[in-house]
Subunit: 115 residues, 2 copies
Amino acid sequence: MSPARHESAVRELRRHAPIFAALGDETRLKLVKRLSGGSRVSIARLTQGSTLTRQAITKHLRVLQDAGLVRGVRRGREYLFGLEAEPLDDARRILDDISRQWDVALARLKSFVEG
Amino acid sequence: MSPARHESAVRELRRHAPIFAALGDETRLKLVKRLSGGSRVSIARLTQGSTLTRQAITKHLRVLQDAGLVRGVRRGREYLFGLEAEPLDDARRILDDISRQWDVALARLKSFVEG
DNA sequence: CTAATATGCAACCAGGAGGTTGCATATGAC
DNA sequence: GTCATATGCAACCTCCTGGTTGCATATTAG
């Protein structure tokens, strides 16, 4: 792996850590899951059924939006939030990379032990 | 989807949010990536090359360990840390589920628009 | 117009996160 | 045995997070 590639990997981690951080809260994870159904939902509706305040939900949505996981559009007096797939895919790719590297390492160890 | 299945999904989110939270820090993400190479590394060696203190790294490792992402074993005066694949796979599964649900929703929308 | 609804903004609060320093202790090397 | 190395523990600090309440504002409904 070239030095250039290694640097880009580090930059990649820096870019992606906030995505995981945004997902690292139960409330936000629930919101993401809810929005993965495809519909755009208002803050008021997202608050319904939660024990939290509307403002708390609003803050969580802002965190998700800052991480790019969600995007809100105004419609009349409402603000509708919908999922954004791209950062989710980025996060998946990171985890896949790590798991892949891990599997390779295990395979190498196994072949070393056996051979 | 039965109520029972829905409840288990909520419990699943509660269990998995801490994994994402643990990954949601650049330093910890770097540590995980480093350990995905397969070797067990001591705290001292993990600290080398970082601008942070050994104690800071130790704290991060503890967070990762609490999330189950990493496990440490004592060897002599050292404490060697290695990756644990299972929670990583759990996190991947969650992301896959969400992406899958999202794709289904998009497909449904598309077929609706197209007729 | 008036009332209800949906959101925005700001202040405030408690607790946790991330980091440091200092000192103690266990283990390995010579 | 002595010294260097690797780690543990505790106190402390600052800043951010997650949450609240209160009030202001915009928009839709009747």
